[in-house]
């Protein structure tokens, strides 16, 4: 059986055995663990037992719940965790039997965090480290033709941009030997990648590419007599 040890000012106030399926902590007298202090919300946090695991959930308390000095929304408790609620501390202790089991199972349940809270958490963390999240804008790729064709600049707004003779291509190139799709540029998790198709010779910075190639700013791409440059710029919120 696990225990919760309530501590205030380095003094043990009370030792609570975990005998129910779930225990609540708060200022209200209906709680299993009552902490009479203004820093504690009426119903501040709850601990649920599911099998051998204990999950601590903050009940949207005003001052938050912390485990080992980190603010939590929902947390799987481990032996010797220190929970901070207001100015009080609650130590979580498992029985030896449970510790042994926990070591063996170590179940990492997936949890979901609600959007508003996670944005909040990230923003706070960023502020602490002095990083400006708002300045990190999404970038969009652009290709700019530097040959004699009159294509000019084309924004790569599609996830997959097809380049070739076919009418369905986003970027149409001419030429007798030009295949319907000569190359594609795809927007992937790590950036933009160009892929040559139908065995077309595609050169990036004068190097023939094999299959896919990630594009960097100001790479020059050559397909037949066409030549264009790739670069990224901050998107104007057009998604």
């Amino acid at each position: 059986m696990a225990r919760l040890i309530l501590v205030f000012n380095k003094k043990v106030i009370r030792d609570y055995p975990f005998i129910k399926e779930s225990m609540t902590v708060g200022r209200n007298e209906e709680n299993d663990m009552v902490i009479d202090n203004l820093a504690v919300s009426g119903f501040h946090a709850r601990i649920d037992r599911t099998g051998d695991t204990y999950i601590l959930t903050d009940l949207q308390s005003t001052n938050g719940t912390f485990v080992n000095d980190r603010k939590i929304i929902s947390y799987k408790l481990q032996h010797k965790d220190k929970i901070t609620i207001g100015k009080h501390m609650v130590f979580f202790a498992m029985s030896q039997e449970e510790q042994a089991k926990a070591k063996k199972t170590k179940v990492d349940r997936t949890m979901i965090l609600d959007t508003a809270k996670h944005k909040d958490l990230l923003a706070k963390e960023a502020e602490k480290k002095g990083i400006d999240i708002a300045a990190q804008k999404e970038k969009i790729g652009v290709i700019s033709f530097i040959d004699s064709s009159d294509h000019g600049e084309i924004k790569l707004s599609k996830k997959l941009t097809k380049i070739g003779k076919a009418e369905t291509s986003e970027i149409r190139l001419r030429g007798f030997l030009m295949p319907p799709t000569a190359a594609t540029i795809s927007r992937r998790p790590n950036g933009y990648a160009i892929t040559s198709t139908s065995g077309t010779k595609v050169k990036v910075n004068n190097q023939l590419i094999k299959e896919s190639h990630y594009l960097k700013d100001f790479d020059t791409i050559k397909i037949a007599s066409y030549k264009f440059q790739f670069y990224t710029r901050e998107s104007e919120n057009e998604k």
Partner: protein, 273 residues
């Protein structure tokens, strides 16, 4: 285009139930994996419902060649029509799970991750929500075609923590998006051109928690039989503890025939001239 594929799901060694779910359909080229969450049996329901809805609606829209404006929610103009089918089906599944979890107390708080791969002749579409992954193995390299919607990944992307801190973070399993918890969902969708010998892996975190990208790459690079490879990957995860449900879907693409046809067509074209 010829596709050979295999899928396998396993409860793992430490969970009582399998909350993962998958679907594969070689005729339409649609592959789905889902990792359900939420107490009791709700996680199982969420992943099943999601997989079923996505499979059904995408197939229906493909057969009818439905225009974009007939789909659920607004289409995304950066995607192809089939990309929009997949996007819309995921949004629909999200809404259904969301409404179910509000309607019935036993389903409260249920949700699921999703990974969808559509191998269409014109493009390969990869879409995901949560931490189920989609990998592309091409020319001896492995590449993620999915985004991870977890607290740790977001911290990492914003430069708040280092790679090393991310690895050991207690927030590894805290998702920032899933299907079912909000009335609408943001889906990451990517499209690429299919190439001959492309290999794709869809999997849940039961695999990727325990088997690294490089190990996955070397296994898939050196195997020929998707069925055996699925078995091999699942066994590997189980040998390392199998702490979660494990689901893998492997898809091998062979486009050689198409290319040959292309060359014949070109010659024919020359003849006609």
């Amino acid at each position: 285009m010829k596709i050979t594929a295999a899928s396998l799901t396993d409860t793992g060694l430490q969970r009582e139930a399998n909350e993962d779910c998958f679907a594969m359909d070689n005729s339409t080229g649609l592959y789905v994996v889902a990792d359900g969450m939420g107490g009791h049996l709700a996680g199982e329901i969420a992943s099943k419902v999601a997989v079923k809805i996505i499979k059904k609606t995408v197939n229906h829209w493909i057969t009818k060649n439905s225009p974009e404006d007939e789909l659920f929610d607004f289409p995304d103009s950066t995607l192809s029509r089939k990309g929009n089918y997949i996007l819309s089906s995921i949004k629909l599944a999200n809404r259904v799970i969301y409404e179910m979890s509000r309607e019935y107390t036993e389903y409260k708080g249920m949700g699921t991750t999703i990974g969808v791969l559509g191998i269409m002749p014109s493009s390969v579409i990869a879409a995901n929500v949560g931490d189920s992954r989609i990998y592309l193995i091409r020319g001896g390299t492995i590449e993620l075609l999915s985004k991870e919607h977890s607290m740790v990944t977001e911290q990492l992307e914003l430069g708040l923590i280092s790679q090393e801190e991310a690895k050991n973070s207690p927030l590894k399993h805290v998702l920032t998006r899933n299907l079912g918890s909000l009335v609408t969902v943001d889906v990451d969708v990517f499209e690429i051109e299919p190439m001959n010998n492309d290999r794709f892996l869809l999997c849940t975190d039961g695999l990727t928690d325990l088997v690294s990208d490089n190990e996955i790459l070397s296994a898939i690079k050196n195997g020929d039989n998707p069925e055996h490879l699925c078995q091999q990957l699942v066994s590997e995860a189980n040998e390392r503890g199998g702490h979660d449900n494990i689901t893998v879907s492997l898809i091998f693409v062979n486009k050689q025939d198409d290319e040959r046809q292309g060359i014949i067509r070109k010659f024919w074209y020359l003849f006609k001239k």
